[in-house]
């Protein structure tokens, strides 16, 4: 069996914002694709196929988004596949492209994703549609919705480990601050722990500034086999080479109450542990905290970042809060987390955010990030994104090789 090396050749982001009236999702995906092609130094006529990442077409009033994008990008009659995995959609899209390339069905893949979930759709409508991505028969009918599920997870985490609201607030401070040097971010903010604690309550323990906002936007990356890249991409010659060296996926029962207790229970993300375990095995990582230089981690809510850090094996369950206080996950710390700003700082279009994470890692590993958020000498990065209440998780590993 051939086992080609897979290279991340380039990426482009169409600005994340609370409202993008200046285009449709197809427009944003086109913009992101043009930028990704320019970054990779690839002619779009040379691409073998696309993977389109889009979660909720209802919110865009456009079903069959994959086919519409394929047409707009001039990729017909080439193959294409559209992928959906809730908030983890873009992670699943990356992994799908990886699988096509590893399996020899393509030499290059454009992965492009977007989501129209900003202010042009009312937030009540968005919440209602997203509640449909959990258990609809019992939990949604009882009044359940995602912010509440995430809050209940952290209630348990706090009870088990003494995790505090101040620690959660620190995640918000860090990620909004990191976004200050990211022009593609929707929510750059200089805020304090006090600001977070005093923001309006949503579902205890979460306050408004503990929660990421939904944003419009798109992102695109180009993945290829090393052979294809050498023949078709100027980035292969001109820019530092970043390879996708690990991919893992894991799943979990949809209802929190159905998960085995006490572990994973409410506080632990078993799907993510499984995804990380597989990705680490593929990339040859044994001690993730020591061997990874930066990580873009799913932070739709501040506590979810802490839960994710633990599930990724950066520390034992319950240790993430104290380590965060010590600055381990800050810029300049041993393992900076969400240097892009994450979902909290960038805003979260589900179809795009997992690709924006990969682009942040690419920029960091190439040394292209502005000095304010650069991780000097970074050689290996991780991206982690999930859907539902971490019912579906994808972890990807990227390595710079000179």
């Amino acid at each position: 069996m051939p086992d080609p090396d897979i290279v991340l050749l380039g990426g482009g982001i169409s600005r994340f914002a609370r409202e993008r009236a200046d285009g449709t999702p197809v427009d944003w995906m086109t913009e992101a694709t043009r930028d990704a092609l320019a970054d990779a130094g690839v002619d779009h006529g040379d691409l073998d196929m696309s993977v389109v990442s889009y979660e909720s077409e209802i919110l865009a009033r456009q079903v069959t988004m994959g086919q519409v994008v394929q047409d707009a990008l001039g990729l017909c009659p080439k193959p294409s596949v559209r992928v959906e995995a809730g908030g983890g959609t873009a992670g699943a899209a990356l992994r799908t492209a990886f699988a096509y390339l590893k399996g020899g069905l393509a030499g290059s893949v454009l992965v492009v994703g977007a989501e129209a979930v900003g202010r042009l759709v009312s937030s009540a409508t968005v919440r209602e549609v997203y509640a449909l991505s959990g258990d609809v028969e019992f939990e949604m009918a009882a009044g359940g919705f995602f912010m509440a599920y995430y809050a209940l997870m952290m209630k348990e985490h706090m009870r088990l480990y003494g995790t505090t609201e101040e620690q959660m607030a620190l995640v918000s401070v860090k990620n909004h601050r990191n976004a200050l040097s990211n022009p593609m971010a929707a929510m750059p903010m200089s805020i304090t722990v006090q600001d977070v604690l005093e923001s309006p309550p949503v579902v205890a323990p979460y306050k408004r500034l503990d929660c990421s906002v939904l944003a419009d936007g798109a992102a695109a990356v180009i993945l290829a086999t090393a052979d294809w890249a050498a023949a078709h991409a100027s980035a292969w010659r001109d820019k530092p080479r970043v390879f996708m060296t690990g991919s893992g996926c894991g799943t979990e029962r949809v209802r929190l109450g159905d998960r085995p207790r006490p572990d994973p229970g409410f506080a632990h993300m078993r799907a993510k542990r499984e995804a990380a375990r597989k990705a680490y095995a593929m990339a040859g990582i044994e001690d993730p905290r020591a061997e990874i230089d930066l990580a873009e981690v799913a932070d739709a809510y501040t506590g979810a970042e802490l839960q994710s850090i633990e599930a990724l094996g950066f520390c034992a369950p319950g240790e993430s809060g104290p380590l965060l206080e010590q600055g381990v996950f800050d810029l300049g710390g041993a393992l900076p987390v969400n240097t892009s700003g994450g979902l909290l700082g960038m805003g979260g279009p589900p179809g795009a955010i997992g690709l924006a994470q990969a682009i942040e890692v690419l920029r960091q590993l190439r040394g292209e990030c502005p000095a304010e958020r650069r991780v000097p000498g970074a050689r290996r990065g991780l991206t982690d994104i999930h859907g539902g209440t971490a019912s579906y998780a994808v972890v990807s590993i990227f390595d710079r090789r000179d």
């Binding site: 009540a124 009882a142 919705f145 209940l152 309550p201 579902v203 029962r253 929190l256 159905d258």
Partner: protein
Amino acid sequence: MTELVKRKLEARPAPEPDPGDPFAAFREVEILDMQMAFGFRHSLGKLSRFFLALEERKLLGTVCPTCGKVWLPPRPVCPDDLAVTEWRELAQRGRLAVGSLSAYSLKTAGGDRQLMLGYVEVEGASTLILQQIRNLGAHALEPGLPLKIVWSEEAVEHPMELFWFEPA
């Protein structure tokens, strides 16, 4: 002047062109008011008996004949071994596993009003069920709080609204 396009909410002229903007000629914006309403004849399928039993003030779980696990919410097939389960009536009391207060709720659950949600360990069930907690009084919404089912005296929209939990 009459609007020629009834659904037009807004038309924004293009801003001063940004030098180097490749889309400078595409910066005018028109926003329309579009609506979509869906109705469903939604079958509750193999779960229907659970919801119909609520009207008789009975709480049903399902027990797996292979592993003995009692599922609440019920499942027609135990996911641990894919065995077809059997219905079992459960006690109408339990304990709070974890609960929280929400400042608002979904439109389908009444919109802006506050809502207390909790996962409840019903006596005899192996799993937890999410439901509303009401009339907490002076009790704290803490794990272990003994709870009982209270049934709605009024007609409701959805069968899950026929019951909630209150301190026992």
